[in-house]
């Protein structure tokens, strides 16, 4: 029994090419830079990736279900401005609840359009991206929203820490574990996998595939709302374009984590690893002082190498 589980553990490790890639990336920076090695910086990376990692967990469901959600960036902006604005008006807890409701409602709309009406998710969410961005702009009329007291307890969610560990990182880890567990162990998780893998077949097997797709978008909206809370509580302020181009970071993280774009496979934990790789790159390049345009070239190369390592380990396993 003991050796059995050991063996399982080894085969799992072999499958995790992307983890290997992440460790390599981390080690490279670790060797190069003195400042990168500090414990403070290690903690900082987690604080900085928290929002994208949380959003990535929801996006993983959408992508496994065979869809895209390009609207998360704009939704992040909308949720941030709503949360900050309502904080002073109706109090922190109700503000967070409203934020989460807005996030999930947006998910219901995208989910209905993609799941029930079977519209192409890429274009639908591109349209939703415009709509939500406009909504955020209308809500703020283009101005900043700012909390009166920038040290209220609400801001501790983003800024505070328990001992050395940031609260946002704790929330992130708990959320990812829940989402990961739900995907791997629940009936719904299996349904998402099978809907993404083969839509037609599972309709005949009696799964309500429309509902399954709709739920993936709701989960994505939910995680975006939680990501928004983590993000806006950090600065105690928000701007209506705060989430611009976040969708690419999130989707890149998910795909780097190995979720198949045609649907059917993926893992929330691996997404987290993918997001971490991007976060380490972002942080490390600034620390070693690389000009930003060289950062993009370097990111391009590292992403391709990381994916290649992942593929090679999978192939070896196959052979």
């Amino acid at each position: 029994m003991e050796s059995q589980s050991n063996k399982n553990f080894l085969t799992t490790l072999k499958k995790q090419g992307i983890v290997l890639a992440m460790i390599l990336v981390y080690l490279v920076f670790f060797v190069i830079s003195k400042q990168f090695r500090t414990f403070d910086n290690f903690i900082l990376i987690f604080r900085q990736v928290a929002t994208i990692a949380v959003m990535g967990a929801g996006m993983t469901y959408v992508i496994i279900g065979g869809n895209f959600d390009l609207s998360v960036g704009s939704l992040l902006s909308l949720c941030c401005v709503i949360c900050i604005d309502l904080h002073d008006k109706i109090g922190p807890i109700p503000a967070m609840i409203v934020t989460i409701i807005v996030g999930m409602a947006s998910g219901v709309i995208s989910g209905y359009l993609c799941g029930y009406l079977r519209l192409n998710s890429m274009i639908v969410t591109l349209g939703m991206m415009n709509v939500l961005q406009a909504a955020a702009m209308m809500y703020t009329n283009g101005q900043f929203v700012q909390m009166a007291d920038s040290n209220a307890w609400f801001t501790k969610i983003g800024k505070g820490s328990v001992g050395p560990v940031p609260i946002s990182a704790i929330i992130m880890v708990i959320f990812i574990i829940i989402m990961g567990y739900y995907l791997n162990r629940s009936v719904y998780g299996h349904q998402v996998m099978s809907v993404g893998g083969n839509d037609e077949a599972c309709r005949y097997s009696g799964i309500n595939d429309k509902m399954v797709i709709l739920k993936t978008f709701v989960l994505s909206g939910l995680s975006t709302a939680i990501g928004a809370i983590l993000l806006c509580s950090r600065g105690a302020s928000a701007q209506c374009t705060i989430g611009e181009s976040y969708e690419f970071d999130v989707i890149s993280g998910v795909i780097l984590g190995g979720a198949s774009l045609s649907g059917g496979s993926g893992s929330v934990y691996k997404t987290f690893v993918g997001v971490l790789i991007l976060g380490i790159l972002d942080n490390g390049f600034v620390i070693i002082g690389l000009p930003y345009y060289l950062q993009w070239v370097a990111q391009c190369i590292v992403i391709l190498i990381a994916v290649y390592i992942d593929i090679m380990t999978k192939r070896k396993k196959g052979a």
Partner: protein, 348 residues
């Protein structure tokens, strides 16, 4: 029969989309903004009818392309002022927004030329790409001016004048104030604006001019992408990289990036160690930051003056007058904790 039904449904659908789209605005909190939108819409349709008869009527028709209103408070206030000031003056203003995209802007300028405006104001998304557009306006025989950001030198022969701030001058003034406060051996880091954006490059140039001849050293430059959250992230990384005492100040592209930098500095508890200098600021809240000493110095640039002076100039150009000066810079005083109350910035 079925097809007829389908056609009707689809027609109703598209029509309802147009209506709900506009109606969505009136449902929003900000009634003022919608009024403006509705007003401009009305005037647009009135005007389209009028212009068919010929542009001989007394009212000037002025076209403008802005950069990206809604992206930050400065541009939004500028846009709103432009619309309300035009209404106040009875000017028929056709204002288009390319959302920060240079090619869209070129297309919109084409649209404005086709609408036969009497004068076109261009706020270039990018100084160089605007050259071809201002040349086209010039060829069409319409007087053209640039506002807020100037067109590149090659295009200056095609415009009548420029009204707006001098971005280089702003950066320089702030940098000089920084040298005054920190001494000539300061070590600083920079958070620049959106990559490749003309204003951002000019303010960086201003920084370099301002510290010329001193030993001030720029240790690092990264882009904050015009986003407060990104600026905060960059600053956090700087603070890890440079321990206490290794940097004296951060020079930011604008007040927005300065807020982000402040968040990071405050969280690290290094307020006394690292000072913030913002090249230029355009929102009223920044005054409070300056008063509290959170921002050590910044050049104040009023979106209202900027917009009003641009429109005044455009009206006189549309009437066929020639401008007295080519460069019409608006005033951008440097605010510090000491002088902020005495600058008389209340009406901003």
């Amino acid at each position: 029969m079925k097809k007829k039904l389908l056609a009707m449904i689809s027609a109703a659908l598209v029509a309802s989309m147009l209506i709900t789209g506009c109606g969505g605005g009136s449902g929003s909190d900000d009634a003022a903004a919608t009024d403006d939108a509705a007003a401009t819409e009305d005037s647009a349709s009135d005007d389209a009818a009028a212009s068919d008869d010929g542009a001989a009527s007394g009212d000037a028709k002025i076209g403008m392309v802005v950069n990206y209103s809604g992206q930050d408070p400065y541009q939004t206030s500028y846009y709103d002022t432009m619309v309300s000031y035009a209404k106040e003056k009875g000017v028929d203003l056709q204002i288009l927004d390319p959302k920060g995209d240079a090619t869209t802007q070129a297309n919109q300028i084409q649209d404005l030329i086709n609408m036969k405006c009497d004068c076109i104001i261009v706020w270039p998304v990018n100084g160089e790409t605007a050259v071809a557009s201002v040349r086209a306006i010039n060829k069409a025989g319409i007087p053209c001016m640039t506002a807020n950001t100037n067109v590149a030198e090659a295009g200056e022969e095609f415009i009548k004048c420029y009204v707006g701030p001098s971005n280089v001058e702003e950066g320089k003034q702030t940098a000089q104030e920084m040298v005054k406060q920190l001494g000539e051996d300061a070590k600083i880091v920079e958070i620049s604006g959106p990559a490749g954006y003309t204003t951002s490059l000019e303010r960086t140039q201003g920084l370099k001019e301002g510290i010329e001849g001193t030993n001030v050293e720029i240790l690092d430059t990264q882009t904050g992408e015009g986003n407060r959250e990104k600026a905060q992230q960059v600053m956090e990384n700087y603070l890890v990289k440079y321990a206490a005492g290794e940097i004296d100040a951060v020079y930011t592209f604008d007040d927005n990036a300065a807020y982000g930098a402040w968040n990071a500095i405050e969280a690290a508890g290094r307020q006394d160690d690292v000072k913030i200098f913002a090249a230029a600021s355009g929102s009223y809240e920044t005054m409070q930051y300056v008063k509290d000493g959170k921002i050590a110095a910044t050049a104040m640039q009023s979106p209202h003056f900027d917009a009003q002076e641009a429109l005044d100039m455009a009206v006189s150009l549309a009437a066929g007058e020639e401008p007295a000066e080519f460069y019409n810079y608006i005033e951008t005083p440097v605010a510090t904790q000491e002088n902020v109350d005495s600058l008389g910035l209340e009406e901003w």
